[in-house]
Symmetry: C2
Subunit: 353 residues, 2 copies
């Protein structure tokens, strides 16, 4: 059994870095987790819908974590035009994120019908921008659609989009079902999945009454988790890390209506080392966390950070912090409870990139 | 549309009345909900496993709610013998409750294998005691069993038990799936379901991040809720009220690991009037809440309370209390948040039994 592994610094192809005090707490923790490339979600308030907003946001993030290479995304909305897509490409923006309306945090501006966006997707295909899909349809009780099958019911939309734009790179974000894994494998080289840390670990039982494990999409059945574990254990190059780390103050989790999201940013590589070791595929960690995403996107860290390494060591008494204070000066802002809070994680970063 | 209905006082064939201060708060609220017959669960600490314990507990409850007719149950455990079953019957105990190990509150003493209890079931069949089943198998990730399919995976056990003891009256408690509804309909006159208030209203989406809706068994898919609604709307005589009302202090709900249970006792009939009106079967409320359970069990209210009526009226501004303090003297014990807390319920009891 390995007691130490050295791999390149990781790439997180789906992360929420928030705004204000939360952003100032979370963004420096990207580095702490061993991550040097962060693909940043645009669901702020208001959402990042154009190039200028994205660049301004990027500047804020770079000031907080100059070691990290940030790639920005735009929030798919009627405001987005083919012209804006071309402008975004020139400005280095890497993708466009689509949220179905109302399915997760700050998704009220989300889309309901993809066809109105076909001119935008055409421009994205031409320019090489990636389409990032939150792959859930909204719950509809009359159609028997709920959080447990919202991803499966979305999959025909993914296939339809791929057929309409076969050269458009599409990422089904935070896949949670064996059906999604099977479809994405089948759709071929332009379609991929991001996979979170927590969906490699959790099933529905784990968020039943456990709000810190509640996220969207929700974790599903054991066989779904098994499918995610199997595809990463196979080292499949179109299944790569996107944590969907989504911090919320604990008082908005431990309450009658909890916000959806699991916070993994500060310990991304230690979590993954533990989980991959448990699955028995520690040798596949590097591909999943460091290589496959970059290759699919055709992106890389900025000069000076391309070949930097991280060394992780096994350490029996390593415990995940119970919480992270959001502000060192304003206690009333509360704290964020991380994934595995207070539990032994067994791995730590010995030398970071 | 009715604006007033008068029905007999209700029978709750599955209720948790707890111990200590919680018991003293909850038990008088049975009457407030329009319920005059309460079939009381034995999962105390320690569990009620014999006749003497049950009678002592019954005495405590009667002192708190003299208007209510209490029927007691024993917790199925190796301590229970055929002799104890016969003693229990003579003492007026009505049933035996079986919990699979570890699936809900205070079920650590639950059973794992029914066959060792066949001599007990034989005695119950002969004596006319009812077997109350918490119909879930424990989660087993290797067998793809989790909270979402734990009831469906239990159903073969129910059928096996029924085939072994076809004259034993069995109630599948708090049914949550269309599969359970279909099976129980098929198994015939000695097998019934209790149905809770909240499972007529909730689906999985409602407990995703909403701890006050988290209970065991968890609410399932829309089509499952539809099956429960349809069978009560049909007025099926083997589907009757058992609320599984299960109070927990709110600080044990709004926390990282929430206790399982929904509290409906204080407003049982107003909740049901609202839900049955929404479904469009207010005319079936009386059978479901007042008649079918008594008929299946062969039980009735004590003398002086048999024919007492409850009148409910529609009232637009009727709001469910946000919480119920557990103790009027010890604030630190906290409060219980009821189902629909702070929401308009639309019905109130105008004259109680």
């Amino acid at each position: 059994m390995s007691t130490s592994i050295t791999i390149p610094s990781a790439c997180d192809f789906h992360v929420h870095l928030r705004q204000g005090e939360m952003m100032r707490m979370v963004t420096p923790k990207v580095v702490e987790g061993g991550v040097s490339l962060a693909y940043v979600m645009p669901n702020l308030q208001p959402p990042i819908t154009n190039t200028d907003q994205a660049l301004a946001y990027k500047k804020e993030l770079e000031a907080l974590a100059p070691e990290v290479t940030f790639y920005m995304t735009l929030y798919l909305s009627p405001e987005l035009t083919p012209e804006e897509v071309r402008k975004a490409k020139k400005a280095g923006i890497a993708g466009v994120k689509s949220y179905p309306r109302g399915v997760t945090t700050n998704s009220d501006s989300g889309i309901e019908n993809y066809e109105i966006y076909y001119p935008v997707f055409k421009a994205m295909e031409e320019e090489g921008l990636v389409l990032n899909l939150h792959g859930e349809v909204p719950s509809d009780h009359n159609a028997d659609i709920c959080v447990m099958n919202a991803e499966i019911k979305f999959l025909p939309e993914l296939e339809k989009l791929h057929n309409a734009f076969p050269k458009l790179k599409i990422v089904l974000e935070h896949a949670t079902t064996s059906a999604a894994v099977e479809l994405v494998k089948r759709l071929g080289d332009t379609v991929a999945c991001s996979v979170t840390v927590h969906h490699l670990q959790l099933i529905v039982d784990d968020w039943a009454g456990q709000v810190h494990h509640f996220c969207k999409p929700v974790a599903k059945y054991p066989h779904d988790r098994d499918a995610l574990r199997q595809v990463v254990a196979q080292g499949h190059p179109r299944f790569f890390l996107g944590t969907d780390s989504a911090p919320h103050p604990s008082h908005t989790k431990e309450t009658a209506h909890a916000c959806a999201g699991v916070f993994t940013t500060p310990l991304v590589l230690p979590y993954l080392a533990k989980i991959f070791e448990d699955i028995g595929c520690l040798d596949k960690l590097e591909g999943f966390a460091c290589q496959f995403g970059k290759k699919f996107y055709g992106l890389s860290q900025k000069p000076g950070f391309k070949d930097n390494k991280v060394t992780l060591v096994k350490e029996a008494d390593e415990i995940v912090p119970k919480q992270y204070q959001i502000s060192s000066t304003t206690a009333s802002l509360g704290a964020v409870v991380p994934f595995f809070a207070g539990k032994e994680i067994g791995w730590k970063i010995k030398t970071n990139f």
